[in-house]
């Protein structure tokens, strides 16, 4: 026998209590991991942002357009490598519920050059460019609606009224896990031509420009220069890095994220209480046994080993189980969110760093929960500990 074995035997002394504690920790750890995954998914767009891309939009708000004529002016600004543009389409596919995916009217000639993380087979890109009502969609989106290249689909315009017909000409895949594979792109010209017939006063405008800078280090200066250029014009601009642009979106939901962070901390607090309670009960019951061990000549370090070891064993069992159930839980969460999922979280995966943090949390909780019982067992005088039997 080794002292190590005593840890196992002690941990299994009250099987029901231990199992409940382990389960409690597992559920809490997995909830913690899930929340972190949600927060991470929220920020995945930020991670995916390119440092050499700027977004130029109307200074008033994103809801106001910019003239298409700005394009050439921006292109002429020193440090600018390339310019593309897009409009938010906001159409309804089938019904509201099915339509929660981003739809952009883009410039087919330049769009995919500015977004190299969208991998599109060359022949599909050529086909996309050649057809006025062609569309390129993300892999996840295509899977969701079972779209194939060549399919024709209908959408109802909300911002741009009318019925719109598109032919899927390409399906892109993301370069990275965090790349959004749920977007829908079609020709800006398709949109603009129709507008010229139906609502000509709205034609000739874009939602925003995407600007590629030659050197990311110059991003700030180039952005300033663009905005200076359109100062005192009819539509003043606001240019920021793509990252700042996306963060601006996220900050709208910052409160929710803060709430989630607080909840995740509370969860850790709760499991600390659960395990502390178990360990305190355990140590109280065994005070006389610790006194016996001391009588036999075992010292403080042996008691520390036994009690901390038992606490860590239970915490780690819960932690490992928790990490394991985080995967099916994340999957279930994804499915429960259904169609809305792709729109909110382009990438939803349990990150290795999340598992690591969950594991560290379990270790931390295991250590913390054993502090008091260990201290108690070490400091209690043998004669007082023994007295508890008689």
């Amino acid at each position: 026998m080794e002292l190590f074995r005593l840890i196992f035997k002690n941990a299994l002394r009250h099987p029901l209590r231990s199992v409940l504690t382990v389960l409690g920790i597992a559920i809490a750890i997995s909830a913690f991991g899930l929340i972190r995954t949600v927060i991470g998914a929220w920020y995945s767009g930020v991670e995916a942002s390119a440092p050499n891309r700027l977004i130029t939009r109307n200074a008033v708000s994103l809801g106001f357009p910019l003239p298409i004529s700005y394009r050439e002016a921006i292109r002429g600004i020193p440090g600018v490598a390339d310019v593309s543009y897009a409009n938010w389409f906001g159409g309804i596919y089938i019904d509201e519920k099915h339509s929660q995916f981003p739809q952009f009217a883009v410039d087919p000639a330049t769009w995919f050059e500015l977004y190299p993380e969208f991998h599109l087979p060359p022949e599909q890109e050529t086909a996309f460019k050649q057809q006025r009502n062609a569309a390129v969609v993300g892999r996840k989106l295509a899977e969701r609606f079972n779209w194939k290249v060549g399919d024709t689909i209908q959408m109802r315009g909300m911002i741009f009224p009318g019925n719109w017909e598109f032919v899927i000409r390409g399906i892109y895949t993301g370069a990275q896990k965090s790349t959004d594979e749920t977007q829908f792109h079609f020709h800006y010209q398709y949109l603009d031509e129709k507008l010229r017939q139906t609502e000509p006063w709205r034609a000739g405008n874009v939602g925003w420009y995407v600007v590629k800078v030659q050197d990311p280090k110059q991003a700030a200066e180039v952005a300033d220069e663009i905005d200076r250029r359109f100062k005192n014009s009819l539509a003043e601009t606001l240019t920021e890095t793509e990252k700042a642009f996306i963060l601006g979106f996220i900050s709208m939901s910052e409160t929710i994220l803060v709430a989630l962070r607080i909840i995740s901390m509370v969860i850790i607090g709760v499991i600390l209480l659960v395990l502390s309670n178990t360990m305190a009960m355990t140590a109280r019951e065994r005070l006389s046994e610790y006194a016996v061990l001391k009588t036999l000549g075992f010292g403080a370090r042996h008691l520390v080993f036994l009690i901390v070891g038992e606490s860590l064993l239970i915490a780690l069992a819960g932690g490992v189980l928790g990490i394991l159930i985080t995967y099916p839980a994340a999957h279930g969460f994804e499915r429960a969110m259904g169609d809305a999922m792709g729109a909110i979280f382009p990438a939803f995966d349990v990150a290795p760093v999340t598992q690591l943090i969950c594991g560290l949390m379990a270790v931390g909780v295991g250590l913390a929960a054993s502090l008091f019982p260990t201290w108690r067992a070490v400091q209690v005088r043998i004669v007082d500990g023994l007295r508890r039997v008689g």
Binding site: M1, E2, L3, R5, L6, K9, N10, L12, R13, S288, E289, V292, L293, K294, T295, L296, G297, F298, G299, A300, R381, I382, V383, L386, V389, G390
Partner: protein, 224 residues
């Protein structure tokens, strides 16, 4: 004459409750030679357990000098005292105090974890000790699968497995029926006679005390 195994010089022990001194042992002096089998008797509350605990080095006196097996206990730090206990003392409790999650063999092996013995040697020593107390056929039993007398015999095996100089027992038969008590006393007698162990037991039972070579009486913290 050789040095006595136990020597107490003017040992006093008091407990304090709210700064009120409760004297339990008062100026006790005694010597016990090696090889002795001594029974300590006395009414409840007279301080028998307290005295035994002092000799075992699990409690410290308020005043006085304690020399046991050539060591002056007052000079040892807590950890030195623990190491000293593991080598010198075999302690037998009234309520056996076996660890319920360990088998008889594992309980006996426990004190050997503090020695440099190999795993194999530890098991062998423990098995020999259990055989000596007549429980060779109960090695894999858990304490709750044993009778009180058997549990106490496992406890004795645990106390002797490290081959200590001094065996101390606090009412080792206090919780046992007469037959079991007799078995335990026979065993202790054998350990004294055959293995030359110095034994000091606290007991209320005159029959048990009879088995000792010498009986001393404690009353109100002093020898009667």
């Amino acid at each position: 004459m050789a040095d006595p195994l136990i020597e107490l010089v003017d040992v006093s022990k008091s407990y304090y409750r709210d700064s009120l001194e409760i004297p339990v042992l008062q100026n006790i002096s005694m010597t016990v030679p090696e090889g002795e089998f001594l029974a300590l008797m006395g009414p409840s509350g007279s301080g028998k357990t307290t005295l035994l605990n002092l000799i075992a080095g699990i409690d410290r006196p308020t005043r006085g000098i304690l020399r046991v097996a050539g060591t002056e206990l007052g000079r040892l730090s807590e950890s030195e005292l623990a190491r000293w206990r593991s080598r010198t003392i075999g302690f037998i409790f009234q309520f056996y105090n076996l660890l319920p999650v360990l088998t008889a063999l594992e309980n006996v092996e426990l004190p050997l974890l503090l020695t440099p013995l190999s795993k194999k040697d530890r098991r062998e020593h423990a098995a020999v000790a259990l055989e000596l107390v007549g429980l060779a056929d109960r090695v894999d039993h858990y304490p709750k699968q044993l009778s009180g007398g058997q549990e106490q015999r496992v406890a004795i095996a645990r106390a002797i497995v490290t081959d200590p100089t001094l065996l101390l027992a606090d009412e080792p038969t206090g919780d046992l029926d007469r037959t079991s008590a007799e078995e335990i006393m026979n065993l202790l007698g054998r350990l004294n006679a055959e293995f030359r162990k110095t034994i000091l037991i606290v007991t209320h039972d005159p029959r048990a005390a009879e088995r000792a070579r010498k009986v001393i009486h404690l009353d109100k913290g002093a020898f009667a």
